[in-house]
Amino acid sequence: MKVFFELGWFFKERKKQYFMGISLLIIVAILQLVPPKIIGVVVDEIGAGNLTGGSLVKWLSVLAASALIMYVIRYYWRIMIYGSSMTLAKKLRADLFRHFTSMAPSFYQKRRIGDLMAHATNDVSAVQQTAGNGVLTLVDSITTGGFVILAMAITIDWKLTLIALIPMPFMALSTNYYGKLLHKHFHHAQAAFSDLNDKTQESITGIKVMKTFGQDKEDIEDFKRLSDDVVQKNIRVAKVDSLFDPTISLVVGISFFLTIVFGAKFVVAGDMTLGDLVAFTSYLGLLVWPLLAFGLLFNIMERGSASYDRIRNLLAEKMDIQDKEDALAIRPQGNLAFNIQSFTFPGEETPSLKNIQFILKRGETLGVVGKTGAGKTAILKLLMREFDGYDGNIIYGGHAIGDYETLKLREAIGYVPQEHFLFSASIYQNIAFTNPEATEEEVINAAQIAQIHDDILHFTKGYNTIVGERGVSLSGGQKQRISIARALLMKPEMLILDDSLSAVDAKTEEAILAALKGARTDATTIITSHRLSALIHAHLIIVLHEGTIVEKGTHDVLMALRGRYFEMYQLQQLEQLVERGGEPS
């Protein structure tokens, strides 16, 4: 019941609909009593031989009218109650999505996307079930059950009602018991099914090994064994599941029997009429559903409550990065002074960055070099304010980056990530990501600088080609170049290329860098790269190793050092030679 109180705010919000819906349900519960009563009355009049055409027409009209009214009401309560539960689902989903968009990367590091998806789908639907079917079963089992029993007791005979109800608790008890048993067996069956699923997954992933060792027959045997287990476990479920209907009909049958035997006695004694007896049996039929619904209700509430708790916990997660109260609402511009003594990612023990200091003047290019895990991306993440909580400061345009509104800070930065993620939309929409109203000229201009324009024209649908997960598959280099165009379109104050030229060949890389230089005279650029050829013209190159700067300077300075940078550069030259098959270019 707890969950109904927890959802109280929603019921209050939709009180009109719920009030209407529940009222309609109650009206239906009352109207349902009409047909059995009319059957009883007509039967009595037929039995007594005093049925007239007029009264028949009257009774049948009442019956027809009540049936029609019930049809209309049943349609509307569904819309009221189920419809409201759908608005709850819609609202929860929108809330969750809103929440997701405002959570920082640290939130996503802790959770798997699959789990977040599950909250927004399964949990939402369990809560929606509670607000829909849960309310329905609660109201329906109380009202229908109550009214039917009242009708039987008051309009017919309370003694017979008591007698007829004797077997009913057995039904509630046994179905409740079956339910628990079923739950247990169902759990086992699910586990067996999941084993089968895992086995299939494993064999298909390891299909090459299977084929190598020619183990198909044995593997199929193993599959048969597991699928046999699934069958056996499911037979146990079926054994319990098949108990429900026979038990219900047996209990109802006995109840009928008692009704007829004792009812006959009362009829003979003149306490009731034969028509009453027929009507009584019809009422009895109406009682089956409310009794079953009670068991069902418990189940729905339990699931809904657990799911709602999960959703609330998720929504209660606080944002890590928040703007200061008097944050600057200006787009930063100017020199960048980076001065970090130490930074450790939340949840990790060793610092990822130590003693990183550099100054980058407006319009200059910074190159960052280092192996995976050397700290390149960590620097960028701090710069974009995905994480706070470091020793030191980052001053951009005369203010610490934390003093700006995060939105304004990010407005200045055009970021091209390592993993080039494109959305399922047209290439045009992907490039015009920051400004869907961008002119064609702007989009094409960005594409041209990123050296992807010609590629795009080669696609049959040109800029309208759909890409992303559900679109055509592009090569890694094409995706990277579209990502670059996307960042360029926003004309950023600072462009960050996070190893985003790794999949394009050397010539294209050169062309992109040259075009960038031409188009972005005043703007600052940060390039991280494995490939040093991309950094030759940078004003400053920092070489990172295990989170700290080991070499610093221009290309020429670093080459003259004959250290780490020099070694890397030589090896890369050799590597390129090998890639070309040993021919010098």
Binding site: L63, S66, Y82, K90, T212, G214, R410, Q570
Partner: protein
């Protein structure tokens, strides 16, 4: 997103799929007959109960005539029928259930067997997840349909027939009159199916849009935030959320119009029909109250199964789509390369010859161009080259993972296509770059389903590759649990277990795809030593990423763009000062000025 590809099936297609599904019932004829017989008995029980009460009402209660014995017999019979009916209907339901489970099991095994027959090409173009779905989830959906829709149909069919027979014997005129309910019900079911198919499709489509948007936004959230597009994404999500809501509301409205409420309305119509018939007849003739009772009860019974089946009609649609996907897989022609099953061909020495082999995966670009080379029995040939140079393709062809058309591969002078599959699998051992371990124990991973292999051989194989030391240090030794993919072992340990697996199979030809993963030096030494031992007495083809491991190979082939560009021993190739030489320098980190 293979699975979400919309499958549009015409009514005729649906019928075809259903018919093909029903073929799976054939082996269970006997079981079905028994179940049907039981079903008929329960229907009879359902029919007779009300008849007995009718008898009681008309013959005894109305005339107020209560002889003891006949009434006791009547009562006992009634209770007896109720109890028997409960038992029989339990047995009947259980039997149908088990039947459905067995049918699905067969279908599952068929699909799984077929999966094993498919060639690697199929696996290349189909995501593993969707193949798994075919085997498990789709078949599960079909079972749902068998259990709740098909069986429900059969039950209601029989019950309706039974009820009509009873009504006809009681009063044939009235029975005929109630016949008008049938076309009405048929029309409702037909209309519901027709419209619900449309609305249901729309709802599912919106739901998949919603989930796709959610999944995509979550995966791309860092981009969305970096480019400050949160608001736009919220708006877009709200838009899809709203569309989904509208689609759901339409289907709620449809359910309200054509599902339970309308069936209840038809029920009321049935009652009105009965009462007016009895009422009008009663103006002239006396009516037995018991008959009215019986008819009213029958009409009640009549509607129960119809309601149940209609609630679950959407499962039917889903199951048909699932079944058509399963059948598409069963009908796929992308099979393993065929072997001439000529059992007389035996592998003696393990001499390998590639003769002018040209190969392409897609039929357009050749990944291997006129490859020819010879490997003498017991010798080792190493393949080196950059990614995409064609090394792996050579192995793929040798292992018969893919069919080739141009040129030939000979083993001991015989075309590889002439060997029975079994011989090839037994005599050629492939060790993969990423050693794949299966869920089970270390022992089961070494024997890999070969139950006849004695325990000593398993141990001997492990000792041979020097894996025994670390295995015996495990708490349970050879019975130590291997979890999914062997994630609790280091990559070196996994590699050693995979070696032992190959040694246990004792192949004549060894095919090695050397690991690129960085392994700690200690294990690397162990692995290298094991590899050397394994190669003794076996013809070996090895893909080498680390040139240091193949210096003693009798022959090294340097591949570039699908062609052999250099060929010779380590020393010869170094002397050539060509591509191999450069690769060697690169790997040894020999830094020198490069012009």
């Amino acid at each position: 997103m293979n699975e979400d590809q919309k499958i549009t099936l015409t009514g005729k297609d649906q019928w075809q799929v259903l018919k093909r599904l029903l073929i799976y019932l054939k082996p269970h004829k006997k079981s079905i007959s028994i179940a049907l017989l039981l079903l008929i008995i329960t229907v009879l029980g359902d029919i007779f109960g009300p008849l007995l009460i009718k008898m009681f009402m008309d013959d005894y209660l109305t005339p107020r005539h209560f002889p003891t014995n006949p009434l006791i017999i009547l009562g006992v019979t009634y209770i007896g029928i109720q109890i028997l009916n409960a038992i029989i209907s339990y047995l009947q339901m259980l039997r149908f259930h088990v039947l459905a489970l067995k049918v699905i099991q067969q279908l599952r095994i068929d699909v799984y067997t077929k999966v094993h027959k498919l060639g690697l090409r199929y696996f290349d173009r189909t995501p593993a997840g969707s193949i798994v779905s075919r085997v498990t989830n789709d078949t599960e959906a079909i079972m749902e349909m068998f259990v709740s829709v098909l069986i429900g149909f059969v039950q209601s069919g029989f019950l309706i027939i039974g009820v009509y027979i009873a009504m006809f014997t009681l009063n044939w005129k009235l029975a005929i009159a109630t016949m008008i309910l049938l076309p009405l019900l048929y029309w409702i079911i037909y209309a519901y199916r027709k419209y619900s198919a449309v609305y249901y499709m729309d709802m599912r489509e919106q739901l998949s849009q919603l989930n796709a948007k959610l999944a995509e936004s979550l995966s791309g959230m860092s981009i969305v935030q970096a480019f400050r597009q949160e608001k736009r994404f919220r708006d877009e999500f709200d838009d899809i959320n709203e569309k989904h809501y509208k689609a759901v509301m339409s289907s709620i409205k449809l359910d309200g119009l054509l599902l339970r409420p309308v069936i209840d309305l038809v029920y009321a119509l049935g009652v009105i029909l009965l009462l007016s018939f009895f009422g009008i007849t009663s103006f002239n003739d006396p009516i037995e109250i018991g008959v009215i009772y019986a008819f009213i009860t029958y009409i009640n019974r009549f509607f129960e199964p119809i309601n149940q089946v209609m609630q679950r009609l959407s499962l039917f649609q889903q199951a048909i789509v699932s079944a058509s996907r399963v059948f598409t897989l069963l009908d796929d022609h992308e099979l393993d390369p065929r072997q001439m099953e000529d059992t007389t061909v035996k592998m003696a020495d393990g001499r390998i010859e590639f003769r002018d082999v040209t190969f392409s995966y897609d039929g357009k670009t050749d990944v291997l161009k006129n490859i020819s080379f010879n490997v003498n029995p017991g010798e080792t040939v190493a393949l080196v080259g950059h990614t995409g140079s064609g090394k792996s393709s050579i192995i793929n062809l040798l292992m018969r993972f893919y069919e080739f058309e141009k040129g030939d591969i000979l083993i001991d002078g015989q075309s590889i296509k002439n060997y029975p599959k079994q011989t090839l699998r037994e005599q050629m051992g492939l060790v993969l770059q990423d050693p794949f371990l299966f869920y089970g124990t270390i022992e089961s991973n070494i024997r890999l389903f070969n139950e006849e292999l004695p325990d000593e051989d398993v141990r001997a194989a492990a000792e041979f590759v020097q894996a025994d030391k670390f295995i015996e240090q495990m708490p349970k030794g050879y019975k130590h649990q291997v979890t999914e993919r062997g994630s609790t072992f280091s990559s070196g340990q996994r590699q050693l277990i995979a070696f032992a697996r190959t040694v246990a199979a004792n192949p004549k030809i060894l095919v090695l795809d050397e690991a690129t993963a960085t392994i700690d030096t200690e294990t690397e030494v162990a692995i290298q030593a094991s590899l050397d031992k394994m190669r003794q007495g076996r013809t070996t083809i090895a893909i080498a990423h680390r040139l240091s491991t193949i210096q003693d190979a009798e022959q090294i082939l340097v591949l570039h763009h699908g062609e052999i560009v250099e060929q010779g021993t380590h020393q010869e190739l170094l002397a050539k000062n060509g591509l191999y030489h450069k690769m060697y320098q690169l790997q040894n980190g020999l830094v020198q000025e490069v012009e």
